[in-house]
Subunit: 242 residues, 2 copies
């Protein structure tokens, strides 16, 4: 039974939050958690989020079979196998492979959430599957948005709001924080224009400006896959709870 | 002519924001900026926000005529002249006096904004006067919410949204960030229930729980006074721009 839901709008706001014993969902719709969800759905063995490109190169040096993916300020890093467009992570590329990923916002959030009891990866791609897993979760759920360079961003809050809305269906006694209520309002206002909201967001407009508009459409797809990635000891793999 | 408006939901998100050359409005509806607005309207010479009670006591030791006001976790600090209920700061108490104030959230935000070109103090009490001043401001306005212990809070975002909404009236070319748009949505949804929104907010419920419910009604009053406090060199006094 879920009793309380909080939404944290930036990893920079985590310092005063106790994650111990809590169920956390990390969100970086544009694009890390969308990419990771798609990679896991396509059979990637595991994803290891790291903070820097240097760390990613060091890991591949020891394990040459690993792929390196990610971005800095939206763009491919020299020497990486893959960028951060989810559509790059097709089955033919990632099935049976492990991937080290480093991104500007998302991987920083994942690393910052490691003290939680459970850490799930959420995106519109796996919304339904995520809700099924969260419905079985413990009393306290915290959605942690990656934001954009530390700042609030619409697409992450919108997704958090879609989860809050789904989790509250038929439950009257869920305690929502101010941030959870505001996220829910955002979703209730824009639920019929998810793609347009993402397109008009600060980050969406930036990605469009660097030629990545097609990613926005991909990242807006709801229930494209039926998996939930879970992070255990710093590795993200398929959650087999359900 | 205003060109862009941003809203920062917590002083903890300021580290990556450049305030230089910008016009900033500090918001702590419950209750520091409401209290300061009321004190300035009632003739306080100036307000000096400081970070700790120790600093406040040290200043009064040098200037025994100063009053000390503020709170920690909503409650009066031993040895202070005044708490943080705006209604305490009546003309009979503060006229012609200077006040050192330290609060859990608001004064921290004010100190963090000192690098801005201009720093105004906003509250529902002086909404109309603030908008008149901001209409003459420079191209970039940033509303900085104090939040509650670093976290997003509804009442500050709601007030930021009321300002965004007013400043956008009749202007088509104002660029709003994701946070500014979300604040505006919050206001547009709840503008007829400002008091109820504050009452139902996390901080509002906390203040009610410690017997300060009457402050919520006070802090919800729109246009009670016609002043704008401005912070210059760490001192807040009456802005005489208009």
């Amino acid at each position: 039974m879920i009793r309380s839901i909080d939404v944290i709008f930036s990893p920079d706001l985590l310092s005063s939050i106790c994650l111990e014993g809590k169920t956390v969902v990390v969100i970086d719709i544009l694009r890390a958690t969308t990419t990771i969800t798609f990679a896991i759905a396509n059979g990637a063995t595991y994803i290891k989020p790291v903070l820097t490109p240097e760390r990613a190169f060091a890991i591949r040096q020891k394990q040459p079979n690993m792929l390196i993916g990610g971005e800095r300020y939206g763009k491919l890093v020299d020497g990486f196998n893959l960028g951060n467009s989810p559509s790059e992570y097709q089955r033919s590329v990632v099935s049976g492979r492990s991937v080290v990923i480093t991104t500007t916002n998302g991987t920083r959030t994942m690393r910052a959430c490691m003290s939680a009891k459970q850490v799930f990866i959420g995106s519109f791609l796996n919304l339904g599957a995520l809700i099924r897993v969260l419905d079985q979760a413990n009393n306290h759920i915290i959605f942690v948005c990656s934001g954009r360079e530390g700042q609030f961003c619409t697409e992450d809050a919108l997704f958090a709001g879609s989860c809050v809305n789904a989790l509250c269906q038929g439950q009257n006694d869920v305690c929502l924080t101010d941030a959870a209520k505001t996220s829910q309002l955002l979703f209730q206002t824009h639920h019929q224009q998810v793609f347009e909201s993402i397109q008009n967001s600060d980050h969406g407009r930036y990605l469009t400006s660097i030629g990545l508009e097609s990613d926005l459409e991909f990242c807006s797809r709801v229930d494209l896959v039926d998996v939930v990635p879970v992070m255990i000891n710093g590795r993200i793999s398929l959650c087999d709870v359900f």
